[in-house]
Symmetry: C2
Subunit: 427 residues, 2 copies
């Protein structure tokens, strides 16, 4: 399939942002809007892009494409003032088959694009949660076709997402409208063509019109980049709020792996501090746990997830967990056999909670939390363990940390063993 991306708009409303940089090259969560379109559509199998630009912004796009060599052909719309309907028409000669049409100033989460490319005609969102209903373009669908479209219609089925799956016949409609030599918008083309329409809801998407939109888009992208399946209660209620807040501020500064290293060093520092001032060490450990989600959020929001990043994060988390328990053990009477036993089993169990689920992914090729649903609700995940250490440690109940960890983690491992056996095993 081909894709046409319209980027010939003049972007007055985002001035001064767009003085030197066209709208499509503004960055949200560390990536240009255009990069997101090209990256996500390429993943859905699109191998031929047509980018419609204007004479002013052409050079900026050419520079971008030298840095990011996607298979894009540029076409200049010599009359951008004729509206985005005319911009579509400019792409006509380069399009030969069913194609995706989208706007360079829109942003979509990956799952939206995945579903939208399988739709037909105009993709609309019945319940857009992230757009301003007063500002957005609305669509009225009847019998599966566009009946009315506009910003000011009162009776509507949903909101125009700026994402279309079209056939080349659309150009005939645009040509007819162009004959009047007057500006015409894409909405007019869509209405004239009585396009089919496909509803898609529940995903984040929006168009970027004002400088505030840029910040709002970053925040929303980060929220939907929370992986969450392996999150415990503490993560959902506390850690994720802190980490997404920080991610929004650091996403243009830290790469995902730098974020991993940063929380690792903070965790290691926490473990060392624990040796001398256990309470402060435990507080730092909790802080590092609250920031632990940042690397994944930054990676997903800025489309930079890597297998290496996932691996490194997991391995370093285990090192921090061990280092913390190791240094904390000097604050309990470890020469007492009972305490010694608790320390050994707490270290073993803390590692094994992660080992059993990660090894599951290695064996079955799928995430343990997806296939083993009850695991999500059984206590003992890392965020909960660290929080338990924090609460007990702040009260000075160091021995209890080891005793409770030994029980909770090893019970969780046993539960995992039984669960995997019952769902996936036979002797």
């Amino acid at each position: 399939m081909q894709a046409v991306i319209l980027a010939a708009g003049l972007g007055h409303r985002l001035y001064p942002f767009t003085k030197f940089c066209p709208k499509g090259l503004l960055k949200v969560a560390g990536r240009e809007l255009l990069f997101r379109h090209l990256y996500l559509l390429t993943k859905e199998g699109i191998e031929d892009f047509v980018l419609v630009v204007n004479t002013h912004n052409k050079k900026a796009f050419e520079d971008f494409l030298r840095k990011h060599p996607f298979p894009v052909r540029l076409v200049v719309n010599p009359f951008p003032e004729l509206g985005n309907g005319y911009s579509l028409l400019v792409a006509k000669d380069l399009v030969t088959e069913t194609f995706i049409l989208t706007m360079s100033d829109h942003i979509y989460e990956p799952a939206f694009v995945k579903e939208a490319v399988r739709g037909q005609g105009l993709i609309y969102d019945p319940k857009a949660r992230f757009v301003d209903p007063g500002e957005a373009t609305k669509v009225l669908c009847q019998n599966g076709r566009v009946k009315n479209i506009g910003k000011h219609i009162s009776n509507y089925s949903g909101f125009d997402t700026g994402f279309f799956v079209l056939t080349p016949e659309i150009f005939l409609v645009a040509e007819e409208l162009a004959r009047k030599k007057e500006p015409f918008s894409l909405s007019t083309v869509v209405q004239q063509a009585a396009l089919p329409c496909t509803p898609i809801e529940g995903y984040f998407w929006m168009d970027i019109d004002t400088p505030e939109d840029l910040k709002k888009a970053t925040r929303n992208l980060l929220s939907c980049s929370v992986k969450g399946r392996g999150d415990g209660l503490v993560s959902r209620l506390l850690n994720r709020r802190v980490s997404t807040w920080c991610s929004a501020r650091l996403i243009n500064i830290l790469s995902p792996n730098q974020a991993t290293l940063f929380t690792f060093l903070l965790g290691l520092l926490a473990a060392l501090v624990t040796y001398w001032w256990p309470r402060w060490g435990i507080a730092l450990y909790q802080l590092s746990s609250m920031l632990d989600g940042m690397d994944g959020e930054i990676a997903r929001a800025s489309l930079r997830t890597t297998a290496f990043g996932g691996w490194l994060d997991s391995v370093l988390d285990r090192v921090v967990d061990f280092a913390f328990l190791f240094f904390l053990s000097f604050h309990v009477p470890w020469s007492d056999p009972k305490v010694f036993v608790a320390i050994c089993w707490a270290i073993f169990g803390s590692l094994m909670v992660s080992y059993t689920t990660e090894r599951f992914r290695g064996a079955f090729g799928q995430d343990a939390y997806t296939l083993l649903h009850p695991l999500r609700f059984w206590p003992g995940k890392r965020d909960e363990r660290v929080f338990l250490c924090f609460v007990l440690g702040w009260w000075g109940k160091f021995i209890w940390i080891f005793v409770l960890l030994a029980f909770i983690t090893n019970l969780r491992v046993l539960f995992t063993l039984v669960l995997v056996w019952r769902t996936h095993g036979k002797v």
Copy 2:
């Protein structure tokens, strides 16, 4: 693609084995020869099988196919005494395209079948390591075609593997030979047709002619079922010899997961015995390590590998390793801070060696030992760790076990970290 399997032979030489059971239903390493053909060819995409049987053994095959519902059509050869050339001809009306032809009394390792289905004509093995050159059928190839074939030719290019990739034209040749109303063998058909020939070497295959062949086949199958990539020095030199010897004797008795449970219980017993009689515990631990390969060998040789089996084996190995170190620690002065440190780090490192490589598979979807070649030669793998415990423990140097394990395992983890970073990472 289709496949024709010839099973109409009378099997005199394997009498009394074949009195109640046709040759193709004899079991090698826990699986009927026919099951192996059907299973391995199905994995290569074959979806339509024609099985040529005789009037005597038809019922046995029908019973087998009720238990194992592969897409097989049975055809009876009413005149098996006319030779296996005539058996091929019987399949004629059911074959419409390029097809695989193979003999029910042959056995091939999976890698052979994978490569052979991509060959052409007669597949021959220039250097068959597992067949008796005096007994085997030899082939002379000239200019890529069969020139001569027979048991007693002196000038030959290799050995007939009994595996063919044919086109339906072969039936014309067989029909012509059948007109003489005399017995004719497949070899005659092959020579008459001047089939193309493809050499494939380095894999285990053989035909089953005598009762001794059954045992020999089991042994050889087990040898080529040793996975080996993650094996350390001790495994290659010692453990695998013991485990394959035992596997050959137990493969018809134990399922792979039963073997896993057996070595787990033995390991757990070893750990417990260590608490009271450390030397005997350590010896048992080494014994369980020597038998640890059995589950994988049995699973691969009997075509019963499962994701669950791999997962269970890994998790239970970690439990045994921890339990052993835990109980051994009561024989060292663990209230001495230095010894306490060594115990903690030995437990952590032993688990992390496995965690880092298993998490690698989870992240990258591929075996760590395949992608990270140097890891194979760096010390610290389980077989080596257990052997180190055994040697030091038998001499009573228990403290040294913890000290050396702490160093060796954590150095290996560090090495893995650096290696993965350099080969797969960027910040």
